[in-house]
Every structure is written in C-alpha cells, then in structure tokens.
Symmetry: D2
Amino acid sequence: MTTTLASEYQRIRHTSAAICAPLARDDYQLQSIVETSPPKWHLGHVTWFFETFLLQAFVKNYQPFRAEYNYLFNSYYQTVGSMQPRAERGLMSRPTVEEVYAYRAAIDERMMALLSDADPSQAQAIAARVTLGLHHEQQHQELLYMDIKHNFWRNPLRPIYLPKTLPVQEAAPLEWEMREGGLIESGFDGDSFAYDNERPQHRVWLEPHRLASRLTTNAEYLAFIEDGGYQRAELWLADGWYHRKQHGWQAPLYWEQRDGQWYEFTLHGFESLNLAAPVAHTSYYEADAFARWSGKRLPLEAELEHKLRELPIKGHFTDSNTFHPQAGTGQHYGSLWEWTASPYTAYPRFQPLEGSMGEYNGKFMCNQWVLRGGACITPADHIRPTYRNFFYPHDRWQFSGIRLAEDV
Amino acid sequence: MTTTLASEYQRIRHTSAAICAPLARDDYQLQSIVETSPPKWHLGHVTWFFETFLLQAFVKNYQPFRAEYNYLFNSYYQTVGSMQPRAERGLMSRPTVEEVYAYRAAIDERMMALLSDADPSQAQAIAARVTLGLHHEQQHQELLYMDIKHNFWRNPLRPIYLPKTLPVQEAAPLEWEMREGGLIESGFDGDSFAYDNERPQHRVWLEPHRLASRLTTNAEYLAFIEDGGYQRAELWLADGWYHRKQHGWQAPLYWEQRDGQWYEFTLHGFESLNLAAPVAHTSYYEADAFARWSGKRLPLEAELEHKLRELPIKGHFTDSNTFHPQAGTGQHYGSLWEWTASPYTAYPRFQPLEGSMGEYNGKFMCNQWVLRGGACITPADHIRPTYRNFFYPHDRWQFSGIRLAEDV
Amino acid sequence: MTTTLASEYQRIRHTSAAICAPLARDDYQLQSIVETSPPKWHLGHVTWFFETFLLQAFVKNYQPFRAEYNYLFNSYYQTVGSMQPRAERGLMSRPTVEEVYAYRAAIDERMMALLSDADPSQAQAIAARVTLGLHHEQQHQELLYMDIKHNFWRNPLRPIYLPKTLPVQEAAPLEWEMREGGLIESGFDGDSFAYDNERPQHRVWLEPHRLASRLTTNAEYLAFIEDGGYQRAELWLADGWYHRKQHGWQAPLYWEQRDGQWYEFTLHGFESLNLAAPVAHTSYYEADAFARWSGKRLPLEAELEHKLRELPIKGHFTDSNTFHPQAGTGQHYGSLWEWTASPYTAYPRFQPLEGSMGEYNGKFMCNQWVLRGGACITPADHIRPTYRNFFYPHDRWQFSGIRLAEDV
Amino acid sequence: MTTTLASEYQRIRHTSAAICAPLARDDYQLQSIVETSPPKWHLGHVTWFFETFLLQAFVKNYQPFRAEYNYLFNSYYQTVGSMQPRAERGLMSRPTVEEVYAYRAAIDERMMALLSDADPSQAQAIAARVTLGLHHEQQHQELLYMDIKHNFWRNPLRPIYLPKTLPVQEAAPLEWEMREGGLIESGFDGDSFAYDNERPQHRVWLEPHRLASRLTTNAEYLAFIEDGGYQRAELWLADGWYHRKQHGWQAPLYWEQRDGQWYEFTLHGFESLNLAAPVAHTSYYEADAFARWSGKRLPLEAELEHKLRELPIKGHFTDSNTFHPQAGTGQHYGSLWEWTASPYTAYPRFQPLEGSMGEYNGKFMCNQWVLRGGACITPADHIRPTYRNFFYPHDRWQFSGIRLAEDV
C-alpha cells in the first residue's frame, strides 16, 4: 500500500478531531433536531465505517472492537444490521467521549496495520475502499460544522465556535452570462475518485440560457422579504407554502430581527447581517420562491456543472478557517452549495456500488434536490464540478445559497 | 359561441352527475382519508370553478349564487381567497346534496347564457377558459371513481359501486422492444387543448433502451411478494422503506389475503385476484422496488411519451363501464397510469397560465412523480401521449400500474 | 311483562327519532371531532344495545339482524367483540339512514315480542335490562343534542337546529347559603332505577361551607375574561394552562366576538350573548380558574348532591323545547350540568354490574370529573340528585355550567 | 440564623453532588423522555431555586449570577418568567458541567452569607424558605435516581450506576389486617415542616376495610401476567387499556424476558427477577388492573395514611445505598411509593403558599393520583405518613409499588 494513502488517512482522520477541538465535553452529545447528529456520533460513525467495511471485510477472523458499536454507529446500512433510531442519537451518553476517541485510536492502529500488511491481491480493493472511507469522513466533517452550528444556535447562551472578526466586503456586481446550451456531457469520467452517483458520464441537451455571475446577496434577498415574499402564496410551490406556514418561516434560518435590525447567527458569533455577503441557509422552497419573485429561475444541475467546469475553485473552503460565506470578487465557486432546479435522480445507466456500498447514494434518489459547488465548510480537496450534493426541499441547516438563471 | 362548446359543456357536466347516480345519499359526504374528497364536494367544486373563473370573470356585476361557497368549494386557489381546510371537506353536511345539485343547475343555466350572449371580443377568452373548465371537470370525474373506491373500501360492509362480472383473460406475453433514443421532441405542440405543464415542446436526449410491451401483471408482482420483496430493505428507496414500515405495507392497496388466497377490492366488488390482469394501486416506492428486484428500471417520461405517440389509444376508458384494469392483448395504453422514473418538474421555458389559472399545475412541481397514459377511469377524450399526471411517491389510491424498461 | 314498560319503551324509542326529525339526511353522518358521534351512529348504537343485551341474551337461537352491525355499532364493550374505531364513526355511509331506521323498526318489533312473550322466570331480569337500555337511550338523546350542536357549529353555513326566539330574562341575585356539613349520606338507596356508580349509599364527612344560590352568569364570566383571566397562568391548573395555550382558548366554546360584541352559537341560531343567562360550555379547567379568580371554589359532589336533594327539579329540560340555558328565578336545578371539585371515582364498596354491563360506568373512573344536576337537553325523567355525570377536564361540548362554593 | 440550618443546608446540598459522583460527564446531559430531566439541569435548577426565592427575595440589590439562568433553570414557575421548554432540557450543552458546579459553589457561598447575616426581622421567613428549598432539593435527589435509571436503561450498553450484589431474600407471608374505619383525622398538624398540600388536618369518614401487611411481590404480579392480565380488557380502566395497547405494555417498566427468563434493569445492573422482592415500576393503570384481577382494590390515601402512622419508618432509604426495593420481613414502609385509589385533590380549606411558592403543589391537583410512603431512593429524613406524592396514572419511571386493600 502506498505511503501516500496512509498519510492521507492520517491527515483526514486527524482533521475530524481538530474540528471538535473547540468543543466542550458537553457539546459532543447534542442532537438539536432529528436531522443533526451529535459530534460524538459522527466521530464514532466514521470510525465504524472503516471497521465495518475495511477491517471486517479484509482482515481474517477480525474481532470487533466492541460488538454493540455496530448497532450504535451504523447510520443507515440496512444490509449490515439494525441501528439506533436516528432520532435517538442524542441519547448516547455511553460510549463517553474518551471511549470514542479510544475507539478511533484503536481502529486507526488496526487500519495502519491493514494498509501496510495488505495482501497484494487485495491491495487495490482496499485502496479503493479506504479512499471511499476518507471521502465519507470528509462529508461528515462538513456535517460536523453544520450540526455544531445548529446545536449552538438552539442554546439560549449562543456559544461561539470560533471567535473571529469577519471581513465586511463589497459584493461584485451581478452580471448575466449567456450560455449556449446544446448537447453536452455531464457526469464524471476521470480516473480519480468520484461517487457512484456522478457516473456515468452521459449526454444532456441544454437550451440556451443565462447564468448569474455570482450568488444572490443578503441585500437582494432582503428586498424579497420586504416586498412581502413570505406572505405571498403565489410565489411559492404548494408544498413550500404549506411548510412555511406550518413552521412560521419569515426569513432564512439563523436570521433574527431585533429592534428593526437584522442579525445572523454564525459559527463565529451572532453578527449584524452583512448585506454584501451571499444569502445562506435558505431551503429549496425559499430559493425557488425568490427566483420566481425575481422573474428568473434556478439553474439545472447540468447547466451549473457545465459552468463550474470553466471556473477556478477558489471558494474559501475549510482551509480558510472562515466558516461563513463572504462576499467575493471574481467568479469562483465554493462559498455555498448552490440549489439547482434538478431533483436528485439516477443518471442514465447509473449503477450503484456493489453490496452494502450500494446503500451510500442510490437509495436517496427520491424527494431531494441537487446542490452543486461546495461551501466554506467543505474541505477544498473534496469538491469537484461533477459533485452532487442533495437535500430535502425543506432543509435549511446546510450551507446553501442561490444562483439565478434565466431562459433566453 | 359555437354550439359545439355548449353541447360539450352539457355532455361533460351531465357525466359528473351520472357517475354519482349509483351512490346512496349517505355516500356523497365521505372523506376516507385526507387525500380523497367527498363526491358532494367534487360536484360543488367543479361548479365553483365555472362560477369563479367564468361568471365572476366575464359577467358584469355578477352576483354570487351563495357567498360562502367561495370558501367551501375553493380547493387550493390562494389568489381567490381562503378555503375550507382539505382535511375537513368531509364535515360539510350543508349544503345538502339537493342544494349542491341546485347549485349545479343554476350555474349551468348562467353558463348557457354566457355562452350564447358573450361579447364577441371576449368569445375566444371565454371559450378557452370553458375548455379548461371542462378538462378540469373530467379530472374530477376520474377523482370521483378513485375516491368512491377508497371510501367504499374503508366501510366494513364493502359496498359495490357497479355489480359486474369481470372477464378473466390471458395476459399477452411480455416482450422487450428496442428503442433507439437520440434527440427527440417532447411535449405538446398542437392547436387543440393541452395543459400548460405539457408545453412547450422541447428537445430531450434519450439513450437507447428497451421497453416492456405491456404492464406488469398481478402474477409477476406476486412473485416479487413471495420472494420477500416487502421484507428486503436493499430493494427499496430509503424513504420508501421507511414509509412501508410505518404503514405496514405487505401488498398493493386493496389486496387482501384470506385463507391463503389473494383477493382485490374493486368498484365491481371484492374479487379473487386475477393473475393475468395488470397490477394496480402500487405506490412509486413499490413500483421502483419491483423494478429493482426485476433487474430493470422504470421508464423516463420522455421515453414513455415517445412510445405512446406510436400506439393507438385503445385502453378501456370510462366508456367501457369497466372500472378495473383488464388483461389485454396487443399494445395500447389506458388501462392504468404508468409510473415513470421522472420527477414532475417544469419543461424548459415553461410558462404557467396567467393569474389564478397559474395555480393549476405549476405550483405542484415538487416532490411528485409523473405518470403517463391514462386509466380505465379516465374519459377517453381526456387523454393524449403528452398528458402528465403526477402523484406523491407514497400515493396508492390512484389507478397506477407498472411498465418496465431497461438500459442497453 | 307490564304494559307500562312496553309503552315506556315505545315512548323513549320514539323520542330519539323525533330529535333527529329536523335534520337533513346529510347531517346524520357528521362527526366533527373524535368526541362526537354521528346521529346515525347514535340511532344504530342504542338499537344494537337492545339487540345485544336483550335479544341475544334472552331469545333462544337468536339470529342477528345483520352480523356486521356488532362491529359497527359497538361503542366500547370489549367483552362482546371488536369495534369500529371511534374516530372513524363518521366514515359509515353504510348502513344508510333508511337502513338504520329499518334496523330500529325490526329490533323494536322483536323487542315488543320479547316483552310480551318473556318467560316469567326471566321477566324480572329482562325488565331490569330493558330499563337500563332505556336510560342508556336517554343518555344518547342528550348526546344527540350535544353532538348536533357541535357538528352544526363547525359548518361555515351555521345551520339552525330549531329556529326560536329565546326569552331575555333578568338573572336572580346571587346569594350565599350557609350549609352545616357533618356526616351525611351520599348515593342512591331507593328501589327505582339508578346506575351502579350511584351506589351504594354511604357516609361522607362534610365541612361547613356556603353554596351559591344560582349558576354563574355570562356577565360574571365576562368580568373574568375582561380581567385577563385567560392570560394569567397563576389562576389555572398546570394541565389546564397547557391545554388552553395549545388550543388558543380565549372564551368558552361557542362564544365569538365580532366588532367588539359577543355572540354565542346555540341550537336556536347564532345569538347575541345573553348576559343574564348562565355561562355554558366551559371546561373544568375554565370553571376552576374562574372559581379561583372569584376567591371561591367549586363544590364537592357530595355537597352539591346534599343541596339538590332539597330543591325541586324545575329546570327547563327537553320537554321545554328550549335547548339553551335560560336565566331563571328561584332555586332549582337542570339548566346546566354543574362541575364539581370531585374526580369521578368509585364509592366505597362500589360493585359494577355483572358481565358486559360492568363496562358501562366503572371503567371510566379515571381522569374525569363529576358533574351534577342535568341540563336543558336532559330528559326530565332522567335526572335525580344522585346522578353522576362525568367528563374529562378539557371537555367543553357538554352543556356544563358553574356553581360556586366557599369554605367557612 | 441557627447553625443547624446552615449545616443542614451544606449536608443536603452536598448530597446532590454525591449522587452524581458516579456519573460520566456525558451522563449529565441526558433526557431520555420528556418526563425526565438531565442531571445537570437538576443540579442547576435546585440552585436556581435558592437564588430566585432566597437571594433575589431577601438580598438588597441582588445581582443574578447569570441572567439567562432564570430562563434555563426555571421549571414551571410562570410567575417568575418564561422557561426553556421541558422537552428541550436535554439540549443544554451550556452551561457545562463545570459551569453548573461553579454556579452551585457561588450560590452556596452567597447563601451562607445570607444565613449568617440575615436581618433578624427576616430570619424566620428566610428559615422557612430555606427549609422549603432543602426539601425541594431532596425531591430532586429522588428524581436524580429515577431519571438516571431511565437514562441508563435507554442506552444499549446498559451502564451500571452502582455495582452491587443484591441480597436475595424471602418475602414475608401476606396477611390481611382488619381496620375499623370511622371518623379519622387526615393531614399534617405539627410544627415541623410539611408541604402545603398536606394541610390542613381534617376529618375523613372511613369504612371498615382490610389492608395487606406488605407490598405485592414480583411472584404475585407474575401470576397476573401469566393469567393473561395484559390481554384482558375487562380488568383495565378504559384509559389504561387504551394506553397499554398504544405503548405495547406487556410487563412493568424495566422487565425483560430473554429465553423464557425474566430480568429487571436496576441501578445496580441488569438482574434476574427476584420473585420475593416487591414489584416496582407499575403505572396506576397496572396497579389497578392487578388489584381487580386479585378481587381486591387499592387503598384510599386516608386509609393508608392511618396505617402508616402506626408503623415504624424502617424502609431502606437512600442511606442504605441500595437503590432497588428488597424483600422485607415485618411491617414497615419505604421500599416503594404505594399507589392509592385517591386522585390528588385539595384537602378541605387547602390554602396554597403565598406568591410563587403557591405554584409548588396546588396547580397539579388534576389528573394525578396520590402515592404514599416513600421509596428506597427517598432520603429517610424526607418522608412522613402525611406526605403526598403524585404521578399521572400512566407514569412508570417513579419507584412505585402496590399494596392491596379490600372491603369488608
């Protein structure tokens, strides 16, 4: 096994712990809503992934670290057994944080042994699976930021994850780029890593259209609010309007109005709303209603992918240590995941991975929408133009933003 | 105004009453689940549609038949006012059945006057709106059959809508037709009526594929059940598996097993399951799981539309007076609405109708899936290859069936 | 069998139909909330009671009128089989109203035969059971009024059960009567009919106290509302406050404020609030909060029973054909059921009736509160001082009123 | 201020921390069901009680330790402000455990100052309030045991609070003592501390009856289970039967059957069911059904109080360090709280304490049932014969047991 992979393993595994370093012990166990998971659970689950799909699969007579962990740390892999109900992940006081870190250390040691001693006939299969496991862990790193933010926000004391003064910047002017359309290629076709849902590359017919040069700003979204956007049913999808009413939405998640001023809760504290920064944490329903109010639409995922292929990746990702989207100049991607007008479905001739790994992506191809481009909490080496993220249309705790498109 | 439209109006309006003729007075008010509506409500709502969008819109100083009906019979048109909550449509003992029929008669009379006296400058707009209203009423005629069936099924006495001996037939052999794909046209481009969601015609790239020559039979679906299809999570979409468990699904809606024999509730009575007939009343989740178990997939809506364009419409529609799908020979469509693998979204450059009519279709373009082809409860003159029906993936009370496809 | 019982049977059975005479056919099937039952169901259920507990019990080889009715019309008698879920009584379009009346006629005929032909050795047992069945039917007559009122109120057209001009009267002055207390007898000890829960008579120690000479008026209750009674948590029981907030209570059931004026929905139409009339349709929670705000308390059931024994029954009961409480002069009881401060529990040495009849009263002795005295919708020959009615503390659709007491 | 009270304060405050000493940091934040509270919250809340009702009330210009704590640690005192929703107490990662202990230390210091420096004119009022606060803290000590047990039980790893081998003993024979009844005194009339709900002492008339000499054993309760007790509706209260079905109860809380053997989860581990020990953790519904099956009844609270006055308190309370009821010999009380047949209501002339302290007991006098006698998790100096504990009839996580009575 290459030393590269082993060092990648160590680097990425270390990062998960580093993300949790600012947490109090008490913060590790929070599950503020059913969609979020406790940091402790994330740390255990990604470790369980290596234990189950690498050690159990490739080590002869493997003895599990602790049998009950297969129940506690399985997320949704029906093919490997039953699991703690998702809504009850916050009830796990045991294993303790120390025990979870001990679990991580033990599995890391065994993984190092596997990587150095693997039977050559299995080396390729192991390397592929380890790579998948590392990308999996990076996804959970992003979830850690998302979930910590939501957990903290629910606490009346409003803890701060990382104190930091955020730069106040000008937003770039909004421009509309004409895009030709035609029969294009969509999806991943390289040798490096990509998820099964990005494959196979295939042809898609696109009509000519225009794309916004940057994400929608808080100022632009505020105009929608002030024009009664949250009170005008005709701007909304029926399901969205129903959901909005039921949950009393009047603004994006994390926005709060006090004495006529708007504020936003961030991982760096409770801040005055930066009008120049991209609007974050809207649901698909809100993004769609905003687009309709604007006389525009959201882009299709193929339209957006086609554009991203042309852009440099220079969004401020996790290496910037700024976990809130900033107003930017020039075109790039990576401040916020961009909602698309495309439901998350299978590409033509899509084949899920074999066995349990087939549960990774394919079974979620219903009721969700694709987002593209990565966000400020995405590891920079985890993103690519063909990457398909997906959330339910009502979800808001992910770092999502809005880029408009229009027909020509 | 042409006499044709007036006579069409009278014919279609009369049909709604005819569908209700076999009902007892007591049956008019039932709402067995939130998705269904009482027959009395359907009869009032379609009448309200004409009163609101024709008489109110085109008759000067129009006096409403009864002001409260705008609240009681509005379905979901937010732009014309508030409405009785959907879940409480079954609580309307007043207006009585007689009063609803009196309402129908009064509005019909006023409509006849409008049609004969309309200002020539408005004649075209009126004709277009009347045509929409008649198609709307035909949609509710189909809903009447669906809803009456569900209402009756929930009653332990199991009433029969129309006593009838159903023919027992052989199913045609299942054949696989090779389809070339390429850049095809999809959507409606004619002069006759079509809904806004079928427009505009546009290009779609299709990969080569094969299509089943007929719908899946009960026998074929039973093999899936007997192979543990309802117990094997790996065959299901995640949301589908959760829904299946929560609702205890073990077979399609209306199937019952007694002493080892399978039966099916129909509008013609409680029948032994006809193995040769197409399987009906599966959700998208079940159709998708069945396809996966079969090693196939469901067709895209464009694939299916392309095929339907080549077929004669010779399904047994409502004019057959047989309200249950029958095994057929030869290729055709119209026994059951066919689930597709396409979420219901907007076509490129889709434009909803102006004003309140824009609420008809566009606002439902989220979380639902397209079905194509019509069913045995669809009026024969209401269907066309470009017609897009849509339901939530868990819905089962519509007359839905399964046609398989496969990649090549 | 005495002719008296047979004629009582016919009189009381006839009354149930008479109560329903003003209904439209459509009204028979309504169940506006889970607590109410459709009039059709009441008519069938009381008939089923005679069929099940008289005909089935005392007629050899009895053939049920229709087997499924045992499921459809059983209310809560677990010992005689399973039953239609309570929340789904409104889904019974079949049997139709005609079929239910035919059922009543058939059972009445069989009952007449039983009463005239009964074996002398069983005559006494039969007479006792028939008497119970008639009291049972009278209870459902009261429920018919209650449920029709609620059903009608939910309909935006606000139907009127019986058009009638209600007299506007002066309320009698409120006086406080000193009551001595001591060791008194409570409960029924006569030869005539009483429910098992009124027996056995037993001793209770009462402290001296004062009782209000009449029920609380709307004017007095309005002062509570206007003093912020519904906004001051300290006046409420904890469960009551929670319930109030959850359901948004701001006034008694059926009260509505329009343009600053208070109105009340009654069986005789939507009326201006009569300030002199007794306040009706408060829950126990509201009655208790009002008493606390008044610096008083509700009376114990033994205190109230002791008082009722001294009073003439001259409330306006169903024979007055006025189904709304009226301001009265002089002391009496019967305008409204009076909430007591006594939870509904068993008297010392309480013995439920044998067999299924034991399910009539005893199994409800938990979570409910006793009300005494009858109401304007109670048949006059159905009430007595020892009668124990009971409802949950949050129930409001019964005709309940407030009489205050105080410690001395 | 007497040194006695100060040392009592220190002793009782210390005990709360001692109870939590065996917990991992992770255990402090668990709220397994809405009824339980996290240990961290208990520790904070009892401290807030002293800060709010002593320091705020009696110290001039008092500066709160931290303003947000009034929201976070208020349980249900509506008169002192709004509060964290009960169901979300488990979401408090902040304050951390350290911060809560720091809060305790700071308030203790301020309390010591108040106790030593109090104005003589206020000394009596302060002493009374401190005494109440200490009894309040003892109640929460009992809740800590209850809640920790439930929290641990929900964890698949089944943590052990205190490893200990429980003695296996013989149960004393069940004897029936004849009790005369008559006009007795009930309630507290001494000079020492008692809650407002135990006052005033008043007369109650009791009928002659018999009382069981000891609590029902697991063996006796098992006979009820094996006789189909959980399947026979006729044994249950209607609300109890509904609740049982809805929650699938087949045995008391914490019982589990594995391979035909019964086990019980305890604070000392997962144990084989000790047949001689008293049955614990039944709801009122189960206790009542068991009594009915036994042909007996539960005792009234006055009957039980009358008996307890005659018994020595020698139950094994918290000082025994055995937190599970043990089979005992001789009559005593204190193994388990004993369900009574008495709903929790006000005594004649009951007066709640003034001001916010009036919210302590009185507002819960609805829908709950009285339990008497204390349990193995009750501090021995916290119990007395007049003590009225109360729970909802469906509650099971409290340490409740069954003592039978019968009429004569």
